[in-house]
């Protein structure tokens, strides 16, 4: 790939700058000098995949919608592709969120537009096997693949999802070459982009508006329909009487995410929780909503993800170009739906901040490895957690400060998958022509032959803190389904124990998915928000 550092991105509109000038109703809570009370028909807490889609549908149906977002509004003009700034301004906990024991790094967005502002644009429909599993094991109804397909189609049109037609960058191409050499399946990823410049900065906020994130699609259209956005406002609790919610109470936050002391209270008829996995359950826990079977925050899934680096003689420049354009499902269902943990293989971009911390280690060895950055292909495998008795996922807890913490323990069931995926991705990268390969394990050096790797990996200890593990997909924690002893929302997203509370985000997923989550959340939310709109208009 050419050196893109000389390229200038110019002539791009900022829809929010224009919208603000045109009088969109936006409240920057950090600037409030007094507590505020606002009234609405529907208040949506969180402006990501679920929140954005809900906002568009509900406000277009004529309802007065207020959207609450903890992050400060940041939009196109400010997306300057600086990694450090992006982590600080657009990610939960400055990209330093992790499982409670520190063993899994958790990337999650915190932005107007939620995680869709920083995601890598891969857009898959939910696998049939996953939806059937929910139907059979959780009593989810109306969400079979054939019933959801029209909603996927609608959202694919809305967000311009199509298979990536440009040649893959060398990072993705390594996955293809490896799979082809080994006779493994691979295919092209559909992406939600319109006029993509093929830059590779999806993770730091797309500077060209090509990525069809909520920030440039559903949220602007909700604003055009009269919605109000309250940003820099973190919902801390809900006022309720055990049967209905009456208001959401938010802390205004300053530029350093600290409470300013001012509050925003939104009184509404209907409440939509859309803060995403970890955060939605935490809000409901802080609010003390009825949870008779203590299910809140349980079954939180992560697609625990492993990394293997292949060092190629030629430059790969994996930080440039569409970050994810090819994938392999060779091992996604390797032992059926509910056997040994399966995993989807993709690649990840190699920007230096994130990649050097994933390379890990310290001192001169770390430095030597980091210095080969332009030559790395970075294959990843996402474990399909939640389909087995030994895969109950993590549990959300509240810290003594009331903030969310995820207790997720990498047990032997998941660790077996980590090891298996390390082996397979190493084999794939050697087959693709890597001169040496290193799996993301603290005791593994770069090794020059598949034979050496094949001998070493089975001897390594796989334990938290030793095998590297991360996540960019937080799912579950407010399990959907009919069985009230195990589930918190019905199949339309309504909270079982409160009449007017709905959960429209990734936290309702009863298991992980086996595909990147955004399109599942868009499709399910489009269906459930449309049903809600109909109900509220009746």
């Amino acid at each position: 790939m050419n050196d893109l550092s000389k390229l200038e991105v110019r002539g791009i509109r900022d829809p929010w700058k224009e919208g603000l000038a045109a009088g969109w109703s936006v409240i920057d809570s950090s600037q409030l000098n007094e507590d505020q009370t606002i009234e609405a028909d529907v208040v949506i807490i969180g402006s990501g995949a679920g929140g954005g889609v809900s906002a568009e549908i509900l406000s277009q149906s004529g309802l007065r919608v207020v959207i609450i977002e903890a992050a400060k509004l940041k939009s196109t003009d400010q997306f300057n592709m600086d990694e450090g700034e992006a982590y600080r301004d657009l990610y939960q906990e400055g990209a330093a969120r992790a499982a409670k024991d520190g063993s899994i790094a958790i990337l999650q967005g915190r932005a107007v537009g939620g995680t869709t502002v920083v995601n890598w644009t891969s857009s898959f429909r939910t696998p049939e096997q996953t939806l059937s599993y929910w139907q059979n094991n959780f009593g989810v109804t109306g969400l079979s693949r054939s019933e959801l397909d029209p909603w996927f189609e609608k959202m694919e049109k809305r967000l311009r999802v199509s298979k990536w037609a440009m040649p893959p960058n060398a990072n993705n191409n390594a996955l293809k070459n490896g799979c082809e050499a080994l006779g493994w399946g691979w295919s092209v990823i559909p992406r939600n982009v319109d006029g993509c410049w093929n830059l590779g900065y999806c993770g730091t906020g797309c500077p060209t508006n090509a990525k069809q994130s909520m920030l440039v699609t559903t949220l602007p259209s909700a604003m055009e329909s009269g919605a109000t956005l309250v940003h820099s406002a973190e919902a801390r609790t809900l006022e309720h009487d055990g049967t209905r919610v009456t208001a959401v109470l938010c802390n205004a936050l300053d530029g350093r995410r600290q409470a300013t002391g001012k509050t925003v209270r939104v009184v509404a008829k209907t409440f939509v929780a859309a803060g995403g996995g970890i955060n939605t359950p935490a809000l409901l826990m802080r609010a003390g909503v009825p949870d008779p079977h203590e299910r809140l925050g349980k079954r939180t899934f992560l697609h625990p993800t492993t990394l293997v680096l292949g060092d190629f003689e030629e430059r790969v420049d994996g930080y440039y170009g569409a970050p994810q354009s090819l994938y392999s499902d060779q091992f996604t269902w390797r032992d059926g739906v509910d056997g040994a943990i399966g995993y989807k293989m993709e690649v990840m971009p190699t920007h230096p901040g994130l990649m050097s911390s994933l390379i890990g280690g310290y001192g001169s060895l770390a430095r030597t490895q980091v210095s080969r950055l332009p030559h790395y292909a970075a294959a990843i495998a996402m474990m399909r957690d939640g389909f087995h008795d030994e895969s109950e996922g993590g549990a959300v807890e509240l810290s003594k400060y009331g903030d969310a913490v995820l207790d997720y323990v990498l047990n032997d069931y998941v660790l077996e998958g980590l090891r298996h995926s390390h082996l397979k991705m190493a084999e794939m990268l050697f087959a693709a022509g890597a001169q040496s390969v290193r799996a993301g394990h603290g005791d593994m050096p770069f090794m020059a032959s598949w034979k050496q790797v094949k001998e070493l990996i089975p001897t390594l200890k796989y334990a938290p803190g030793m095998a590297g593990c991360g996540s960019a997909h937080v799912m579950g924690g407010c399990t959907m389904g009919a069985d009230e002893t195990r589930c918190l929302t019905d199949s339309e997203g309504r909270y079982h124990h409160l009449e007017n509370l709905y959960v429209f985000d990734g936290s309702v997923l009863p298991t992980s998915l086996g595909v990147n989550p955004q399109l599942t959340i868009y499709g399910m939310t489009a269906r459930n928000a449309t049903r809600l709109a109909t109900r509220l208009q009746a």
Binding site: D3, L4, S5, L7, E8, V9, R10, G11, F79, N80, M81, D82, E83, G84, R88, E93, G94, A95, A96, R97, A98, A99, K100, D101, G102, L199, T204, P207, R256, R257, Y319, H351, P352, G353, S356, S357, G360, G361, Y362, G363, A366, R367, T368, V370, S371, R372, P374, E397, L398, K400, Y401, D403, V405, D407, G442, K461, A463, P464, G465, M466
Partner: protein
């Protein structure tokens, strides 16, 4: 292994590195390390305390060996970037990092991980490097989680500096010109 340390180790394991709960023996660790009074950030810092700075200053040249274009002169800049990075995690997550810095004040903990009782301030960079090598070879989950907790935030803080990022061979991002 003395009992206090064994106890703290279990407590620490439970609390986690970026985790929320305070060390069960948190107060104990703080008083053992003699820094229970030093809860306030050092002058000019948002979070790092004087004791942390004294602990990390000698360790950074070993931890980021080869990555400091100006050698030891870069250490203050590293610590500033770390301090800024530590401003973003939730309070509970930040507490866990500081528990790690606290526990590193304990000779016994350093002896267990680095085979060195002495405060890093009294060791040479080579000795610290050797200590880190011992630590990184430990086949113990807790020790390795702790080592990651020491290394990863520093690495992330440092390599997100645009100038340092270029030292990896990364040419840098395109530039954004606002209309």
């Amino acid at each position: 292994m003395n009992d206090t340390l064994a106890l703290n180790r279990r407590a620490f394991l439970r609390a986690g590195l970026f985790g929320s709960a305070l060390l069960a023996g948190g107060a104990g660790v703080a008083s053992l390390s003699g820094c229970s009074t030093a809860k306030v950030p050092a002058n000019g810092f948002l979070h790092l305390r004087q004791a942390d700075i004294e602990l990390l200053t000698p360790m950074v040249p070993a931890l980021l060996a080869g990555a400091l274009p100006n050698g030891d002169a870069d250490v203050p800049r590293v610590l500033r970037r770390l301090d800024t990075l530590l401003d973003s995690p939730a309070q509970g997550g930040r507490d866990a990092i500081f528990q790690l810095y606290d526990v590193l004040q304990l000779g016994a903990f350093r002896w267990w991980t680095m085979d060195a009782w002495s405060h890093p301030g009294t060791l040479s960079t080579e000795q610290i490097d050797q200590g880190l090598a011992n630590w990184s070879r430990k086949q113990n989950s807790f020790a390795r989680l702790a080592l990651n907790g020491l290394c990863q935030p520093l690495t992330l803080a440092w390599y997100t500096d645009p100038e340092i990022a270029k030292g990896t061979g990364y040419p840098g991002p395109p530039s954004k010109v606002i209309a």
